[in-house]
Symmetry: C2
Subunit: 329 residues, 2 copies
DNA sequence: GCGGCGTTCTAGAGCGCTCTAGTTCTCTGG
DNA sequence: CCAGAGAACTAGAGCGCTCTAGAACGCCGC
């Protein structure tokens, strides 16, 4: 009934515990013949190494802690890629969710209790002092967010550039009245807002720049859409994220405003929903796979003492042009 | 730099390791005075118990393993409630994600490697033999899915009843041509399909029963909607889940088909999206909090040898009537 | 003044593993 | 024929904790 241990396998194979340990770890120091024999016995007994004991005994735990928000589709993407990137390099991943009644600090604490060697924070809007304190204890990579803390690495996408791509795309189609529905107090919203202003300015459209309060959820986009539909509507809208854009689109369609004929819409994130055949949302795309892989790579580089060039890696986003943008009529 | 251990706290407090252990665990056997003193020293040193060592040494790990699908909004809800239900009862939770390149078996294996005492499977469509094998090793609670395996507990919502509620609601509004857009090969789809047929039959609408192939994603709903719009459209549609309903709604609105005036739509899941102000989708609601709490309760009951009455707990769903249903015109 | 009892504390084994420092056993070359 | 190298294997300590068994210390009643 109980789990078989190294001891059990060793006894059955007639070798020492240490040898079995060498074999199951794939470490050098065992002949091919015994390797095969031990492995087959381990298999037969249904032996699985106890990660608690392994973690405790080893000087390295090879454990990467990841915090994330469960209900955020982009984070699901990230997590998936973090798993595979870590696995490829021989690291394990332990997840800790940030939810409405499980604050970032709690999520981080449980990670620490697992004695992971490095932390990748995707879901945690941790404030700078806490972040710095954490960064002094172990390598920390903040994913997708800016921070002033010098104690942590950052892997993110260039928001400024993403917004500029969107504005440029719309401007090149001939739009001038391009409105930005912002993210309210959501993370990164302020940065995107000012990037929008700058981009409009560069296009000589500073006069037309107009920011409408939004948020990170569909309903925020919907509220903004109702406000836009009431007044003189713009010819194009750039939203804080895809969810917001979806809310917007829904209200527009119901109000008989055709997208992209009457109005063009650009989202941000390239989340799965943007790719849906009936939506085909033009959106700024962040490469989740690359973001994840870089974050993992960075964390591991810090751990293994490899050279880590810059504290911050900024990826270039690209614009996924789909069906919600067209020249104004 | 290194983590302080029990030893460090003990040395500083001038007591034995065992006493410190007693204090930090809150176990009986220490005087109030030393308790306070040890606690404050532990705090001062920033001591945090090492969960690996704790797990290894204790005969109980008080660890609950949970598998889930990251991109499923309902699972995010569940996870959140599982966390708090477990915490309330003094158990910890370790999450293991099922993703497109991380099959259920892998997710379960990593849980096992953490030596959790019981497993709650929300994301894993595990086949019966594997499930039975797992159930023989440790208490397993399958969440939201039926299974024939007698080795595991099941906590789920009565699909049959949920579907019947929806059909009854539509029938009472006066609908007769009620179509079901099914979930294809998605889990539980077959059960919902036959529940639909039965419910229609009970209403004397067996003749009108019509199933259109769908799926679990928005695009599946959209495809079904296009098919429905082409032929003689029904007056009401009941979908496999909310995501499917959202795809459906989108196509209808774009095609100028008014909801609920021309056609009523009922979803399934009561996911956050259904509650959005601009959608207000009528849907069958599963109580995530209760589902989660029951699952945790069951797992713990099995562990602690409490009486567990039935192998299966079936919750009663209810219908959240919102804005997408109305009498036919 | 002494056995008995409850409370507070400690010594030390042991959880399943990894790792260092051997030991043994070939297999060479001079 | 033996020193030396290298491969294959082992003994045993130790990771940070929990837990059992028992020690030390009052405090009671007789």
């Amino acid at each position: 009934m109980r789990h078989p241990t190294l001891e059990d396998v060793a006894a059955r194979a007639g070798v020492s515990r240490a040898l079995v340990s060498i074999v199951v770890r794939g470490a050098p120091g065992a002949s091919e013949a015994t390797r095969q024999r031990v492995l087959s016995i381990a298999d037969e007994l249904g032996y699985r190494p106890d990660s608690r004991a392994r973690l405790l005994a080893g000087r390295r735990s090879r454990l990467l802690g990841v915090t994330l928000t469960l209900n955020h589709p982009f984070h699901a993407d990230l997590a998936e890629h973090i798993y595979s990137a870590a696995e490829q390099r021989g690291y394990e991943v332990v997840l800790s969710a940030v939810t409405s009644n499980r604050p970032p600090q709690k999520a981080i604490d449980t990670l620490l209790d697992y004695r992971c060697e490095a932390a990748i924070l995707a879901g945690a809007l941790t404030r700078e002092p806490e972040l710095t304190a954490l960064g002094e204890r172990l390598p920390v990579v903040v994913l997708g967010q800016r921070t002033r803390s010098q104690a942590v690495d950052v892997v993110r996408t260039a928001d400024t550039q993403g917004i500029r791509l969107a504005v440029d795309h719309l401007a090149e189609l001939g739009h001038r009245a391009i409105v930005h529905v912002d993210g309210g107090r959501a993370p990164g919203s302020a940065a995107r807002r000012s990037a929008y202003r700058t981009a409009m300015h560069r296009r000589g459209l500073a006069e037309q720049a107009r920011v409408v309060p939004g948020g990170e959820a569909e309903e925020d986009g919907a509220a903004a859409a109702r406000e836009l539909a009431d007044r003189t509507p713009p010819t194009a809208v750039l939203t804080y994220n895809d969810r917001c854009a979806v809310g917007l689109l829904d209200v527009f369609v119901r109000a008989g405003i055709a997208v992209p004929d009457d109005i063009s819409v650009v989202g941000y994130d390239d989340s799965p929903v943007a790719r849906l055949p009936h939506l085909r949302l033009t959106t700024v795309s962040q490469d989740a796979a690359q973001l994840a892989s870089l974050a993992v790579q960075r964390a591991i580089a810090r751990l293994e003492g490899g050279a880590v060039d810059a504290r911050e890696v900024v990826l270039t986003p690209h614009l996924a042009v789909r069906g919600t943008t067209a020249p104004p009529r």
